[in-house]
């Protein structure tokens, strides 16, 4: 399964790379957002994890869009990923 992930503003924590194509290892149950975050933290996050994740979820102030829709409408952490889903993380904490 392949998922494009984009970062807006948070790319500083990911070595400055904004777009990532992520292929998750296959497993019996479908991947959900919660697991994706853990995976990102382990494999993509280059520094300062506390600026991106907080506990189980993303840090407050980071907007998450799945296929250009607010993840709050999709179930947030419980949403199960489908092939080619596009996930965008936008940091709202910067800039004015």
């Amino acid at each position: 399964y392949c998922y494009p992930i984009s970062l807006g503003g948070a790319e500083l924590l990911f070595d400055g790379v904004k777009e990532h194509q992520v292929t998750l290892p296959s497993q019996s149950e479908p991947w959900d957002m919660k697991q994706l975050l853990v995976w990102i933290q382990r494999n993509l996050l280059k520094e300062r994890p506390e600026l991106f994740v907080q506990g189980d979820s993303v840090r407050p102030g980071i907007l998450v869009l799945i296929n250009d829709a607010d993840w709050e409408l999709m179930g947030e952490l419980e949403y199960q990923l489908q092939d080619q889903d596009n996930v965008v993380f936008i940091s709202t904490l910067h800039g004015g």
């Binding site: 807006g8 503003g9 102030g61 250009d68 829709a69 607010d70 179930g75 419980e78 904490l93």
Partner: protein, 503 residues
């Protein structure tokens, strides 16, 4: 509501949200893609309408920007100001419903010098922004923060507005404008071809010295904000703009409000966070984005491809407790995550704040009643006997060692009756010649930071106190400070001869 085992972390809403097809609350047809506030879900099209309408309504409702006026947009490169730029662009375009009618210009201030960024990094950011500005077709100005060293001290004075618009009502102005410009649209001004930043290395060095001398991040942020504001106002004035538009969004202003209270700027809350800011006199600052939460802005920018540039600032990648502002931001955002009406509640409260206008005898509201740096009314010059501020002054006095306290000839922060035995010289200024400069005949020159205190409001005092030496401040601030000191001394001297103001 108060049931045992009830988990308040949004679980209440969760269950219904898991069904995928939520309809937009406005058109009730399309699938909703965004949740704003608590429970308002919009589809993409309705959201865009709502977003665009809010901008125009904000400007229209407040009726401050007259048709044909030149307005300077302060763009920091961040999402909110770029969104503001985008909205202005859309609003001015020919086919806009309820077209905006002013003439915009853009200004960007490169603060890389204060952050220690290299020239190449700064140039790269500037290039990116320049191509963005060029695409808008508006005239733009890109300035390095180092230009604060070339500011005239008049920037710290409140100027009277130019007499161009005598008491004409907004409606009359709009009607007049429509009549005379019926067939031609406002063509944006020609862009000047600017190459790169012109940075003087010595200035960069001085800038770094200033920020290096400040201990806390809070004070650094405050001073940066002050210097930036001065430069913006000066640019607006010198290039002939009468309004300045800032891109502060609702979330940012809510954070600023709470942080300001923590920093002792409670008296200036209304000016700092209101829609319009009249402290500079001729240049009015407006904040048209103040009704948009950060989430709305980010979502819109993403959906409609509004370009913005990520530029690090002083508090990038710092921990939660690095500065007061940072801590407040963290507090508000975390609270907002669980209670989505936090930011709007704070915002509503800020809307109710108003400044008490000074008494009608505004001829007496001279410049020396305003803070030197933030240009808001001084809250430290009238010290009532039982106020909290008086208490801090007393404790400061008591905690200083008596022997080392220099003879202060020019800092009337304490009322005479509260000064101890050291007041012998302070009371009698003893300067016979009015033309004497600040520091007078006293051979003991009081340290600069003490001298500035009487000219600053409480929170600016705290910021300057954090600097190891106020001498590092740019010349325009120091010379204006000296001028005010001299005036104030002169006033003291001839006080007995002045007619009573109530006369």
């Amino acid at each position: 509501m108060c049931q045992v085992d009830e988990d308040y972390n949004g679980q209440l809403d969760r269950d219904e949200v898991l069904s995928f097809s939520k309809k937009c609350v406005k058109c009730k047809e399309a699938t909703a893609v965004l949740v704003i506030r608590a429970g308002d879900m919009f589809c993409s099209g309705c959201f865009k309408e709502y977003f665009v309408h809010k901008f125009r309504a904000m400007l229209g409702k407040n009726r401050i920007i007259f048709p044909g006026e030149r307005v300077l947009l302060a763009v920091s490169g961040g999402p909110s100001s770029c969104s503001m730029l985008n909205q202005v662009q859309e609003g001015l375009s020919q086919n806009a419903h309820k077209k905006l009618r002013f003439i915009p210009g853009i200004v960007y201030i490169d603060e890389g010098g204060a952050l220690g960024l290299s020239v190449e990094e700064r140039q790269r950011t500037v290039d990116e922004l320049q191509s963005m500005f060029k695409a808008t077709g508006f005239p733009y100005h890109i300035l390095p923060l180092e230009e604060v060293f070339d500011l005239p001290s008049s920037v710290l004075e409140e100027s009277s507005p130019s007499s161009e618009q005598p008491d004409i009502t907004y409606k009359a102005a709009v009607d007049h404008f429509i009549q005379t410009n019926r067939n031609c649209y406002l063509s944006p001004e020609k862009q000047a071809d600017l190459t790169g930043l012109n940075i003087q290395e010595s200035h960069t060095h001085s800038l770094q010295q200033i920020f290096g001398s400040i201990k806390t991040l809070t004070a650094k942020e405050d001073l940066l904000q002050t210097l930036r504001q001065h430069l913006l106002v000066h640019t607006a004035r010198s290039k002939g703009y009468s309004k300045l538009m800032l891109g502060d969004n609702c979330t940012r202003l809510a954070v600023k409000l709470l942080a300001s209270i923590s920093l002792g700027r409670g008296a200036q809350l209304a000016i700092d966070t209101g829609f319009s800011d009249l402290r500079y006199g001729d240049i009015i600052t407006v904040r048209p984005m103040r009704d948009y939460s950060a989430k709305e802005v980010s979502f819109y920018n993403h959906m409609y491809n509004v370009p913005s540039v990520f530029i690090p600032t002083l508090d990038t990648k710092t921990t939660d407790k690095a500065s007061v502002l940072r801590l407040t931001e963290s507090f508000v955002t975390k609270l907002q995550a669980h209670f989505p009406s936090t930011v709007s509640t704070i915002y509503r409260t800020s809307e109710k704040l108003q400044t008490i206008q000074p008494s009608p005898s505004s001829s007496t509201a001279h410049n020396w009643d305003k803070c030197l740096l933030c240009m808001c009314a001084l809250d430290t010059n009238v010290v009532e006997k039982a106020s909290a501020f008086q208490a801090t002054l007393i404790s400061e006095l008591l905690s200083q060692r008596r022997a080392s306290r220099p003879v202060d000839t020019a800092s009337p922060t304490l009322r005479p009756e509260f000064q101890g035995p050291e007041s012998t010289a302070a009371g009698g200024v003893g300067c016979e010649r009015a033309a004497c400069g600040g520091g007078c005949c006293s051979s003991v020159k009081a340290p600069e930071s003490t001298e500035l205190k009487s000219l600053l409001c409480y929170s600016c005092q705290l910021t300057i106190k954090d600097m190891s030496s106020a001498d590092l401040l740019p010349q325009y601030i120091l010379s204006e400070a000296q001028r005010r000191k001299r005036r104030s001394q002169m006033r003291e001297e001839i006080r007995e001869f002045l007619l009573d103001e109530d006369y």
